[in-house]
Symmetry: C2
Subunit: 315 residues, 2 copies
C-alpha cells in the first residue's frame, strides 16, 4: 500500500491500512514523517486513556470490560497493548491474547500489540505515534494497556490524557505503587479484584497516602480511588465515569492543552536527539570509539575523556 | 573536600570522601570527569554483582545475608541500592533501611542508596560511576540491589558482571519474569522464600523454560536455578558459589572483557549524547521549540517536521 492509499483508507478505518501504518511508525520506516504529516489535520478527536499497574492486577480484563461498556454506548475503541516482550517469548502471552480475541471481533474495536523489543526507550513515543494514527482513523477512545512490569508503564502515562493505575487489594500493593513511581502518574486508582479480602482497607490506605499529597493548589485534581471486580463486570460504569470526570477537569482547567504540549515537547526532544545521534555516529567516529575503548577498560582513559574527544574531533 | 583530597582519601576507604564522590557523580557535578580520571588507575579489582527481581522477592534480605557471608570470608562489600524513588516518598522505605542498618555498622561494608529521581534514564550509568568509585576505594564486591520495579532492574544488569534474578515460589512469578525481560538478564535464578509451598515446582518450571534457550554454542553458560530462604540464612553459601562459578566462567571464556567493553561503550554513547544535547538546546532553539509547539498541538505541523526544522536551523 502506498502512503497516499494509506492516507485515504485510514480515515475509513480500513484495518489493513491501520495495521500497515502502525508497523511503519513502529519500525521507524522512512515513510513515517510523511505519513504523520498527512494525517495531522485529522487529529484531536480521540481521548487517550492509560491502564497501567503491577503484573497480575487484571489490567487486560479491565480493559476488555471497559471496551465493552464503551461499545454499548456507541463509541469506537482502539487498544494499544504495550508489551515489554522478550526476544525469547516472542510475543504477548497466550492468556492475554485469548482475552482480547473476543472483543477484537467487533468492527468498532481495534487491538494492536506493540513490543519494546529493539526499541531503546522510544516505546512511549511510538505508542503515541500509533495513537495518532488511530486518532486519524476516527476512534473515539484509544486505550494504552501495559502488559507486565517496567519503565514502559511510567512512560506510557505520558502518552495518555488520563491514566488509571490498577492495583489488587493485597496489602503491599499500595506500598509497591509508591516505590515504583506509579503514585505520580495516577489520575485515579482502581482497586480491582475487590471481591477479595482487604479491598476496603486498600482503598483507605491509598486514600490516606494520597491525602498527604494535597497541595491545596487551585484547580487541583485529587486522584479518586474506586473499586472494581472486572471479572464480574462490577464497577466498570464507575471507571468510565471517573475517566469522564477527569477529562472534564482537564478541559475546564486548561490542563489538557498543557499535557498535550508536554507530550509533543518530549516527542520533539526525542526526535531531535535521534537525528543528532544518527548524524554523529558515522563510520569514522564508530571506529575511533572501538579503538579507544580498549584503553578505557585498561583504565588508561575514562569514558568521560573519550566522549569529550569524540565530540571535539572533526570526523 | 577538594578533588585532590577525595582522591587521597577514597583509596583509604574514608566514608565521607566516598559519600561526597558518589554525590558528585549522582548529580552530574562539574568535577565528575576529573574525579573519575584520577581514580581510573585504581580500577579493576571489585567484582560487580546485580541482585534484581520483582517486588517482594526478598532482595534486601538476600543482599544482607550475602554481605554477611562475604564479610565472614574476610571480603569487603559495597552495596548500591538503586531506588526508583518518587519525589513523593522521598527515599527508600523504612523497612529496607532498617534491614540495611545492621550490616552497615560494619567497617568493611558501605551502603548507599541511589534514586532515579530526576535522572532521565541515566541511573545505570551513574550507578556504574558510583561502582567505579567504590572499586577505587578497594572494595572486593560491589552489589547493586534494585528496590521495587522498573526498567532500572534491566538497566542495572548492564552495570554488573554477574546478575542474580530473585523470584518467589508462587506460580506466576516465572511467567512474569518472562514477560518483563528478566529472563534475558539473569546469569542465574534464585528462588527465594523456598520454605514456602511450590519452591520445587518453581525451580522445575524455570529450568524447563531455560532449557528452551540453550543454543549449544561453545562456551555457553546455562543459567542455574538455586533455592534460598534468606530470612533463615539458607542457601547463601550456594548463592556465593554460583557467583564465583559465573565469574570463573566469564574469565575463562573472555566474556568478562567483552561485558566490560560493552558497559564502557554504552557509557560513552550516553555521555556523547548528553554533550550533544547540552550543545543543541541553546536559548534560541528552546525558544523556537516553544513557539512552534503550538502549531503542533493545533495539528498544523508534526513533531517530525518541527524536529527537522530545529536540526536544520543554524541557531
Amino acid at each position: 500500500m502506498t502512503n497516499s492509499e494509506l492516507i485515504t483508507r485510514i480515515p475509513q478505518r480500513d484495518r489493513r491500512a491501520i495495521a500497515r501504518a502502525i508497523t511503519i511508525v513502529e519500525n521507524d520506516m522512512p515513510e513515517t514523517g510523511a505519513l504523520l504529516r498527512e494525517l495531522a489535520p485529522r487529529l484531536g478527536h480521540a481521548y487517550r486513556v492509560g491502564i497501567t499497574g503491577p503484573p497480575g492486577a487484571g489490567k487486560s480484563t479491565l480493559t476488555s470490560e471497559l471496551t465493552k461498556l464503551l461499545r454499548s454506548k456507541g463509541m469506537t475503541v482502539a487498544i494499544i497493548a504495550v508489551d515489554p516482550t522478550s526476544p525469547f517469548t516472542g510475543g504477548a502471552l497466550l492468556g492475554d491474547r485469548i482475552r482480547m480475541q473476543e472483543i477484537s471481533m467487533d468492527e468498532g474495536v481495534y487491538v494492536r500489540s506493540m513490543a519494546t523489543r529493539g526499541s531503546l526507550g522510544g516505546l512511549a513515543a511510538k505508542a503515541k505515534d500509533a495513537a495518532d494514527i488511530l486518532d486519524a482513523a476516527g476512534f473515539d477512545y484509544v486505550i494504552f494497556e501495559t502488559v507486565g512490569v517496567g519503565q514502559s508503564e511510567l512512560d506510557i502515562a505520558k502518552a495518555a490524557d488520563t491514566t488509571a493505575v490498577v492495583l489488587v487489594p493485597e496489602s503491599g500493593d499500595a506500598v509497591q505503587a509508591m516505590k515504583s513511581g506509579l503514585m505520580e502518574i495516577a489520575d485515579f486508582f482502581v482497586v480491582n479484584k475487590s471481591d477479595r479480602e482487604g479491598a476496603d482497607q486498600a482503598v483507605r490506605a491509598l486514600t490516606t497516602i494520597l491525602s498527604f499529597r494535597i497541595t491545596h493548589k487551585e484547580d487541583e485534581w485529587i486522584p479518586p480511588v474506586i473499586k472494581t471486580t472486572a471479572s464480574k463486570n462490577e464497577g466498570i460504569e464507575q471507571l468510565f465515569a471517573k475517566i469522564e470526570e477527569h477529562h472534564a477537569h482537564l478541559t475546564k482547567t486548561g490542563h489538557l492543552i498543557s499535557r498535550r504540549l508536554e507530550r509533543e515537547r518530549e516527542r520533539v526532544h526525542e526526535l531531535v536527539e535521534a537525528m543528532l545521534r544518527v548524524d554523529f555516529w558515522n563510520t569514522r567516529r564508530r571506529a575511533m570509539l572501538e579503538t579507544e575503548l580498549v584503553q578505557v577498560i585498561k583504565h588508561e582513559k575514562t569514558s568521560f575523556d573519550l566522549a569529550r574527544e569524540l565530540v571535539a574531533a572533526s570526523l
